[in-house]
């Protein structure tokens, strides 16, 4: 009996050594340790043995059974390992099951980057209505009715007294009406002008900035905008400030940056000038302070404004502004 079992064990292990498929291993497993397998059959003979022999024989058979079972398990494991090394079961070039992720609109992305820079400088975000009173959009900004500077902006009217804001500057006034200096805000938002071509859409986005305090100077304005430009573009992007005119600032400046495309050599984007106009800025006009009851002998301030589309077009190399509002998926998915 003992010898028989030993023989069976050897037979099984020898056969297993030759089995090279999962089916063969399973066949052996059934043959030896299956419910009707050889080893299990032997187990059934144990009760017929003399009482004294039963425990020893029982544990022998059980030992062999456990040994074979673990040998079969190992063999299967080894087989899987072998197969995984030799044959590629998966076509790894088939597309995976992607978890879709949407994209933020490029204008939002640029607006966020602009705001982030100013937030780091300690500015706060302020917002205001898109449909605005003539008073906030023009008059309080030193643009009385019949002022020629109103020609600079083609206005959508809702009534004689209500307009779609032509810039985000009215937010300045609304903030100053409610708050006393010091003030450091940026005001991102939509603006509207009667204009539509390759570089103008009737709706567009602006970011306005305002700093008011004691001893705020034009040199500070240059400092803040230089920081902004260097972070938004890069440290090598130089700026120049050119005298200009806005009714709500004096002195006023147009701010140009070295063309980010040609680096100043002259190209189509900068009309061969080497410079790109990206910002309007200036020192808050005392007339504006008067409208909000700020003492202009005590406080000074600067304001600036920029078009987000303009900056996005430069950053991303887009030459038709209208692309932003078509929302073609093939465009949106690039950002």
């Amino acid at each position: 009996m003992k010898e028989d079992l030993e023989k069976i064990r050897h037979e099984a292990l020898d056969a297993l050594a030759l089995a090279d498929t999962a089916a063969a291993i399973q066949g052996l497993r059934t043959k030896y340790v299956g419910r009707k397998g050889i080893v299990v059959q032997h187990m059934k003979t144990v009760p017929s043995l003399p009482v004294d022999d039963r425990p020893a024989m029982g544990s022998l058979i059980n030992g062999i059974k456990r040994q074979l079972e673990s040998a079969f398990d190992d063999a299967v494991e080894a087989l899987v390992l072998r197969q995984s090394k030799t044959a590629s079961i998966l076509d790894v070039t088939l597309p995976g099951r992607r978890l879709d992720r949407g994209r933020l609109h490029p204008i939002t992305q640029i607006a966020n980057s602009i705001c982030d820079i100013f937030l780091r400088l300690g500015f706060e975000i302020a917002e205001g209505p898109d449909i605005e009173l003539d008073y906030y959009n023009f008059e309080a900004l030193n643009l009385p009715k019949d002022h020629p500077a109103r020609d600079m902006q083609d206005t959508f009217y809702v009534s004689d007294n209500v307009v779609l804001r032509t810039h985000t500057s009215p937010i300045q006034i609304r903030v100053m009406e409610k708050q006393s200096p010091p003030i450091r805000i940026i005001a991102p938002g939509k603006a509207y002008r009667v204009d539509s071509d390759v570089t103008h859409t009737p709706m567009f986005h602006q970011v306005e900035g305002l700093v008011v305090g004691e001893n705020i100077s034009m040199a500070d304005l240059k400092g803040v905008l230089a920081t902004f430009v260097h972070q938004m573009f890069d440290e090598d992007t130089s700026l120049r400030f050119r005298p200009s005119f806005f009714p709500f600032t004096e002195p006023s400046a147009e701010v140009d940056i070295r063309c980010v495309i040609c680096r100043g050599a002259g190209c189509r984007v900068c009309s061969q000038t080497g410079w790109l106009e990206i910002l309007g800025a200036g020192m808050v006009d005392p007339a504006v302070f008067k409208m909000v009851n700020y003492d202009s002998s005590k406080y000074t301030g600067f304001a600036f404004g920029m078009g987000i589309e303009r900056i996005a077009m430069l950053k991303y190399g887009i030459d038709d502004i209208r692309t932003f509002y078509e929302n073609d998926a093939r465009f949106l998915e690039q950002f």
Partner: protein, 810 residues
Amino acid sequence: MKVSIKWLKEYVAFDVDAESLAARLTMMGLEVEALVDRYAYLDRAVVGKIIHMEPHPKNNSLHLCKVDIGQKELSIVCGATNVEQGDVVAVGLPGMKLSTNVVIEPRQVYGLLSEGMLCSQAELGLGPDQTGVLILVKESVPGQKLSDAFGLSDIVMEFKLTPNRADCFSVIGIAREIAALLNLPLILPKAGLVEGDTSIETLISVSVESPQDCLQYFARVVTGVKIGPSPQWLQNRLVSVGIRSVNNVVDVTNFVLMEMGQPLHAFDYDRLAGHQIVVRTARAGETFKTLDGVVRTLDSGMVLICDAKQPVALGGIMGGENSEILDGTTNILLESAYFNPATIRRAAKKLGLSTDSSHRFERGVDPEGLGRALDRAAQLIVEVAGGQVAQGPAHGGGLQFDKRAVEPIELSIGRTNRLLGTKLSAGQVIGHLRSIGLKVEVLDDDSLSVVPPSFRVDLLRPIDLVEEVARLMGYDQIPVTSPVVPMIASPPTDRLRLREQVKEILLGCGFSETLTYSFIGADSFEKLSLSPDDRLRSCVTILNPLTEDQRVMRTSLVPGLLSTAYLNQTHRNYDMRIFEVGKVFFAKKGAELADEIEMISGLWVGARHVRSWHSKGDGVDFYDVKGVIETLLGALDVKDVTFRAGNQEELPYFCAGSMANVYSENVFLGTFGQLAPFVTSSFNLKRPAFCFDLSLDKLIDRVVWAKKARPFSRFPSVGRDIALILNDAVEVQQVVDFILGTGADFLVSADVFDVYRGKPIAEGKKSVALRLTYLALDRSLRDDEINVIHEVVTKQVLDAFKAALPLAQQ
């Protein structure tokens, strides 16, 4: 405004090339937009020598000429009679555009090829002579460019002037800035008016009835003029700045306008009834025919220049046909006036008529320059058209309108430096101000008393002078510093935080952000099939939209999303997952401004997942959109979210039976579901579209901002299932609510894992399977205790919903 370099050099003798001058002027605040070579159009005109000439065999009024143009000989057929063999002439090569706008091309003339054209002075735009070919001196070199041969070169600078610089709307104005820039003297034209004996009083009387609109009115009379073409120099000046030559008298008024910036007007004196000038405001509805032949309807805000009987000019804007200078005019009245800028601007805007005159009056002309310009024009008219100037100008009006001469501006050096962030000395500030003709007196260590010249109508306040100092020193000389301000920070508002989070979550759900115009077409409401009194129709209308599809401010983001989906569909993109976070606008009764509400809307069209080998591209359905809403509100921790079947009457653009409203407690947040098929088809979409429309404004108060950790169990939970046969009408949420409401011990959740309709379940019934989870915070639960609890719960549910257990469990 255009100014030619040659003209400028009459008043300031500079020797700087046009490009660097333009760059420096730009940095001074006079932006030069373009530099144009006036004679660039002569690029294809060369000197040619006629080396052979013979009659045209088929037409004896023409000649065939062999013309030497240096490198080449051309055959040119010519009809002119003033040329002969050996003449040196002006040749236009193919591609050249003549002043008649004809472009020269090689062509066959009676069977012979003509490879160019012999041009007249007029055709070349170089003078009035059109009688024959322009003949050059014999020494001219064939092949040389015509512009070189004549020494023609003149660059025209095109300025983009800011509205405050009224003084620069003239050649002298620009010359003055150049003189200051280059530290050169300004050479003004010499006054040399010779008056005759006749006194102006005997010729004309001027009365100004509305002095607040016309503050000053000067007139001169020139008698015995001969109207004719202007001399070449005068035509040339006007052409260089883009003004058409009319006749000698009109040309002089335009010349002085350009030279000095003062608009003038010339009337035919003999056509002025009663030899009288009356300046008055128009009567509402009064009509007047302006020089351009248009009959204009006026209002009481406009100024009319009248004679004894009728209006003769629309003051400050345009003259009238009834008094214009004609070929036979012999006596003229010249007007030089100062009109109220606001009056002119209103009138010009209302009439939609902007002229060189109105443009300057709107911005303010030199109040002290009226007489000077008038005298200059009278003198030039005598020069080019003969005649005699009557003695003295007639004068009307006379309001004092320039207070600055009596009230100098006080400027503080310290404040100037503080504002600019500079350290300028008094001497530097004074130097800059004086360089542009300001009178400066030192009051004390810090203060200056400054009187600007009359033409600088923009300099009224100390700040205006600070800007001049900054501009003249150069903005690049201002240092770069960082503002020193108190370190105060306030947290971002809930709105900003929420907006950012919402976008972030929706991106994670696979939705891309779109931005669409805030205005939509008024027909959008029809397309959404809104009832006539629908809330969404109370929109704000734009009075002057660019196009009809931008007529009203949106009251919903949905039309924009649908239009976007349509645009993409035209590019064969049928699967879209897009959202927009933006404002909608509602007209508010009794208020001027609109209600602006921020919305979160999304659209899912086409496939749930893009079709691939592992996905058949099944269409999106209601539960996909609901899943998005659940994900969004879940991630935001919105309080007590409930879903209720929606009322399609309220929002007719959703599909009945496939829409739901979402609430937080009882606050309505929005709606989602399938859009009605007629809505998708009115936007031309081919696939079913699912949409959500939530109010960000409402959501702000419903979000739990301050998060608190809740204890969670470290012991295993026990799950037990219930399967029920329910009436189809019973909403599963009712069952879930009931189960959780039983208050059974250890019960923490009830989740639906199967819903089945069909055999063997009876018609009108459904089988619903739920998994109940039991959990204790402090220990492992025993099967037997849960069995007891679960049995009770099961029985309660069966009783409450009159439900049955499935057959298998009965």
